[in-house]
């Protein structure tokens, strides 16, 4: 029997809709890409004149031409180290516990709901919490440690959720293979589940960190200084015991604060500084995302089931 005209028309119509969807998708992508490109080129053209080595090695200054971001990028870097050291082990451990150990009961359900809710709490609220708890109650001051802990709390839900997703992607058959050989729960987690979910976990961690590095509100709330002309003390010293943790208690400034500070200056010349610093911040975030993609690619090469 030949294909009827009606059927042919139906197929044609369905194919047109298919094409329409593709066109809409491409248009949406194009819009997003153009927005990013416009912002990026604007930033580059406005900030290009400040983009020289001195910009990275000079402190903030009252004169726009000689002002740099040394204190800001070092501060951001130090804060990120604290954030990473706190959020990564805590987040991964929580994720593993919830996925592999926690009994399915009301308490676990309550904890899970709380974690999802935490991910939706505005960052300023974390800043207020930190101001009350870390700055005043624990008397940590507006220090690198306070900022690191605050941002760690902020990205903890992101790390936990990413860890759980990555762990859930490991097939049950692999777990059963380990258990059937006589492995304990921890051996199964450490030798298998964790190893195979590492690419996904690392991606989540880096996405969390790249969110934290751009956060302004919580660090402003805890009282970070925006004009600072010294660096936190070095973590390595020349005399015994050679390591120093004084940098944790040091006041600091961070990239987003520096940018915010410059944009709120009345002098036109500082707008170029703000653009240049924003460009650096975007590049830092892009670099972190690139590392995430590269790590995922490297580690996943051998993973299949």
């Amino acid at each position: 029997m030949a294909v009827s005209v009606h059927l042919r028309q139906t197929i044609e119509r369905a194919k047109r809709r298919d094409l329409l969807f593709v066109a809409l998708g491409v248009a949406a992508l194009f819009l997003a890409f153009c927005t990013f490109l416009a912002l990026f080129t604007n930033m580059v053209s406005a900030g290009w004149e400040r983009f020289h080595p001195g910009f990275f090695t000079q402190y903030a200054s009252r004169r726009a031409e000689s002002a740099g971001i040394l204190a800001a990028w070092v501060g951001s870097f130090a804060v990120m180290i604290v954030t990473g050291l706190v959020a990564v082990p805590l987040g991964i451990a929580s994720g593993i516990y919830l996925e592999e150990y926690a009994p399915r009961n009301r308490l676990t359900a309550l904890i899970e709901i709380n974690i999802s809710n935490l991910a939706g709490v505005p960052s300023i609220v974390y800043g207020l919490l930190a101001l009350g708890m870390f700055v005043h109650y624990f008397n940590l001051g507006a220090s690198v440690l306070t900022a690191g802990l605050t941002l760690a709390l902020l990205i903890l839900p992101v790390v936990i959720v990413a860890t759980r997703e990555a762990i859930r992607a490991v097939p049950g058959a692999i777990r059963e293979a380990a258990y059937a050989l006589g492995a304990t729960r921890w051996q199964t987690v450490k030798d298998h589940v964790l190893q195979y979910s590492l690419p996904g976990i690392l991606t989540g961690v880096i996405i969390g960190l790249s969110r934290a590095i751009g956060e302004t509100a919580p660090i402003v709330t805890i009282g970070a200084v925006s004009f600072i002309a010294f660096l936190p003390p070095a973590p390595v010293t020349s005399s015994f015991p050679f390591v120093s943790f004084d940098w944790l208690a040091s006041p600091f400034t961070a990239m987003p604060i520096q940018i915010f500070n410059w944009t709120s200056r009345p002098e036109e010349a500082f707008q170029a500084n703000a653009s240049a610093a924003a460009l650096v911040l975007v590049l830092m975030t892009l670099a972190m995302n690139a590392v995430a993609i590269w790590l995922r690619y490297r580690l996943r090469r051998n993973l299949s089931w």
């Binding site: 059963e176 293979a177 059937a180 050989l181 006589g182 051998n302 299949s304």
Partner: protein, 265 residues
């Protein structure tokens, strides 16, 4: 296949395990109903029956896999010989049970690690540290699983680069490396093509000289080809058990006959 005269009396055979009054519950749902079965030493026992009859559930009782998930409950006993210990007793650690029994699953499930590490893993968690012992035992296990010649030059390759049949033989090698007293096969060829299936069946034939095997299969020809004994299960009941040729050619139950001749199932 008239081996009637050569068949020894059942009472004269050594037992490897005795299942008595075994019932199993997934929560409130009863999946096994008071099963009694003898597993004879260094014989292949096949479990057959339609989907959902409880044969895999039954097999997974032996190495306490059901302990991994909440809400499961055993009743009755599985006694393992020669030391006559009840594998299902609450005071017996399931890890200890799994150290004595090995399992091969329905779908090949090698770890995404090297071929060597796959086979060595069971030995590592049994505390084997010596590299030279590991190398010897891995070679022995791979030879036992008829895989050595195919992989001896690529032991460091990732196991998932092997073909499906090779992966399943790797899983058998992984199980053999642990020197199990009882080897459990859960439909080991259902995900494999006919050629790979034939090589696994041949392997089971060789292994039964040394080791007691319990195999679940949905393929009746396979049961007939590889097993000494066959148990037919239906809806959680053990309907018939006996020498494989008796079950296939002289079934005592009408239901068994119907299933085997393909009238239902």
């Amino acid at each position: 296949m008239n081996e009637e005269l050569k068949k020894p009396e059942l009472d004269s055979l050594a037992k490897k395990a005795q299942v008595s009054d075994l019932s199993f519950f997934y929560g409130a749902k009863q999946a096994l109903k008071s099963i009694n079965l003898t597993v004879y030493d260094r014989k292949v026992t096949a479990l057959i029956g339609p989907s959902g009859c409880g044969k895999s559930t039954f097999l997974r009782c032996f190495n306490r896999m059901h302990d991994l998930y909440p809400g499961n409950r055993y009743q009755g006993e599985i006694r393992l010989y020669p030391d006559d210990v009840n594998l299902l007793a609450p005071e017996i650690d399931p890890i200890e049970v799994r150290m004595r029994l090995s399992m091969v699953f329905q779908k090949p499930n090698p770890f995404p690690k090297s071929i060597f590490e796959n086979v060595a893993y069971g030995l590592r968690i049994r505390g084997e540290r010596s590299r030279s012992v590991l190398i010897d035992r891995v070679e022995e296990a791979l030879k036992g699983a008829a895989l050595w010649n195919e992989v001896k030059d690529r032991l460091e390759d990732v196991a998932t680069t092997l073909s499906g049949g090779q992966q399943q033989r790797l899983c058998i090698a992984r199980a053999l490396a642990c020197d199990p007293e009882l080897l459990l096969f859960d439909e080991p060829t259902s995900a494999l093509d006919p050629i790979a299936t034939a090589s696994i069946e041949e392997l089971i034939h060789e292994l039964r000289e040394k080791i007691t095997i319990l195999i679940v299969t949905h393929n009746m020809q396979q049961a007939a080809r590889v097993s000494d004994f066959t148990a037919y299960m239906y809806l959680g009941d053990l309907v018939e058990f006996g020498w494989t040729d008796d079950v296939f050619f002289r079934p005592r139950q009408k239901q068994t006959e119907d299933y085997i001749t393909g009238r239902f199932g």
